[in-house]
């Protein structure tokens, strides 16, 4: 029974990593940039939902929508101001700018909402599911996270494969110049990707804080790095890869704690990552990088 309950904790943690990782992977896949500020957009999303429910007294679901709208706008603004001017710059320059944005968001949050941690109330209205006479408990948030995660994947898959903008995204991701010659606006496509990624970040932020109800300006930082690891783990740029990577990372983290050592749980997670990448250098579901000669 312990095993099952650890597995569920792992999947619960993993599904949240997965949602964050999906945002990372979307942006990476299309804009080819590591958006290290993604974790902080998550934090902003969580604060928005928090403000909406506690200060304005809104319904939790409405607060999620509000968070998504604010994060989408934030994502587009960040993209326009900080990343778009660097479209032709070396990717490292963009990486550093993203880190600057990350510092900015964290410190702005510190000034806006103070350093005092807030206790987040879960937006999930369901009770826990109790199985085997209550020996196995699956929380409502876990069920919702997994459900949301699956919905997001299906939605992203539909967008990417079936819609016109999705085709444009794939075209931009493969060959920016050729996509432009087809009439695709690269800037617009990347902006839309950021908008989607940021909306996902808002959802991830709300779910993260629903599962682990504490909210501080640094709340998004570590989950951000972990989710980035998850995205690479699954093969960065791949949507199913991000899902798989997120879930596996969560499970490894919990199992590492449970069966090896709570002291070394982070070291274990990262060691597994290294081993996976050595065996499969492009991640679990990553495509072989085409080297252009």
């Amino acid at each position: 029974m312990d095993f099952l309950s650890y597995l569920i904790s792992g999947i619960s943690l993993g599904s949240i990593y997965a949602i964050i990782a999906l945002g990372y992977t979307m942006v990476y896949g299309i804009a080819r940039m590591l958006n290290f500020a993604h974790g902080d957009v998550i934090m902003v999303g969580a604060y928005m939902s928090f403000m909406a429910t506690t200060r304005f007294g809104w319904h939790p679901l409405l607060s999620v929508l509000f968070a998504m709208v604010v994060c989408t706008v934030l994502g587009i603004v960040i993209e326009q101001l900080a990343y778009k001017p660097l479209r032709a710059a070396p990717s490292l320059a963009v990486l550093i700018t993203a880190i600057g944005v990350s510092y900015f968001l964290q410190n702005a949050a510190l000034l806006l909402w103070s350093a005092n941690p807030k206790s987040f109330s879960s937006v999930v209205p369901f009770d826990s599911l109790r199985l085997f006479n209550g020996r196995l408990i699956i929380s409502g948030t876990t069920i919702v996270s997994i459900f949301v995660c699956v919905i997001i994947i299906l939605a992203l898959n539909t967008i990417v494969n079936k819609t016109k903008i999705g085709k444009a995204m794939r075209a931009v991701s493969e060959d920016k110049d050729a996509a432009q010659l087809m009439g695709v606006s690269v800037n617009r496509t990347i902006s839309i990707t950021f908008a989607i990624g940021s909306a996902l970040a808002a959802v991830a932020g709300v779910l993260l804080c629903s599962a682990y109800p504490i909210l501080m300006p640094t709340t998004g930082a570590m989950p951000g790095i972990k989710a980035f690891t998850a995205a690479v783990f699954g093969g960065i740029g791949s949507i199913p890869g991000a899902f798989l990577g997120g879930i596996l990372l969560g499970i490894i983290e919990i199992f590492g704690k449970a069966y090896i050592s709570t002291q070394l749980s982070d070291a274990i997670v990262f060691a597994v990552l290294i081993i996976i990448l050595i065996v499969k250098p492009t991640g679990l579901l990553g495509k072989k990088v085409l080297v252009k000669v």
Binding site: Y28, L34, A82, P85, L86, A88, A89, P90, L92, A93, L95, I96, T97, I99, G100, V101, Y103, F104, N107, A108, L111, I225, F228, T229, V232, I236, Q263, L264, D266, A267, F270, A271, L273, I274, L277, I278, P281, T282, G283, V289, V291, V293
Partner: protein, 368 residues
Amino acid sequence: MKRLRLRTNVDNWLTYGLVIVAYIAVRLLLAGGNISYALQGQLVPITVYIVMAVSLNLTVGVLGELSLGHAGFMSVGAFSGAITATLLELLADTTSTTWIRLGLSTPWIRLSLAMLIGGIIAGIFGFLVGVPVLRLQGDYLAIVTLAFGEIIKNVMSILYVGYDANGIRVSMDSANALKLDEGGTIIMNGPMGVIGITKLSSFTAGFILILITLIIVLNLINSRAGRAIKAVRDDKIATESVGISVWRYRMMAFVTSATLAGAAGALYALNYSSVVARKFDFNTSILVLVFVVLGGMGNIRGSIIAATVLTVLPEVLRAFNEYRMLTYAVILIAVMLVRNNATLQHVYKQIGARLSKSLPTRKKGSEV
């Protein structure tokens, strides 16, 4: 070709010159008592960050691989250096051999040994990390360096090292688990790190370390090995046919980079009375990366200047009070935007072209 080499030489001498002139200037100012405590306190960290930036530039700028775990090597160097220095001090107290005691009670000898050992151990780690890392490419390589950095941080913060009559004891559980004799000393105490370090570092030591770093790095870049490394950076496939030697050169650069970071780490640790694992986290790796990117990848002199300015900058911003780090973030973004703005770059180029008529230009290949 001859002209090119001449330019490279002039360029390198300019770099050495900059460092030496800066050192002398600071010494003079110090002698005149014209430097604030704030800047005095920053002199050693500045030299440390310069060495960190130059050594990371070897990986990022010259090898062409993004490393997000450079602070990990600094950590290894800092702790092995701090432990070495503490042990040497204990040894100096207990040994009966006069010349050893005299030698070890000389601070600069202990400092040099600590930096040497810190560097060597970090270099060994560099090799161990390099074996898997250099098999990978691009962002995958970057994430593995990040992973190693995190592992090192995690392990260092649960490492306990003690010393008693029976020798050195190590535990990953707790200080109690070291089971030290009466009179034994805990040198490294898990998350508390190494405490009670005798401050050995000095600005001059930092200056000498910078010179050594420059000699190693600039000679490596301009050697045959360096050219091979750069060839790999610019065109992997074409040079892959050259075979195994490329791997050796790349490993050489990576290990050199780790070794220098380790020595810098030792210098850093011995500048404060305590050092903790938490310091050498992802943010520190990123900080050093920012120096490199801002100074220009492959541009050693740029790294030196960027490391200095960006180390001093947050202190200058203290006037902004609670808006300090926000301002820092805005400056960072603004500098990246201005630096990479296409129109402005065009202006730089024109000015550069005008200047280059009168001055020897930088070697083009070393810039990105």
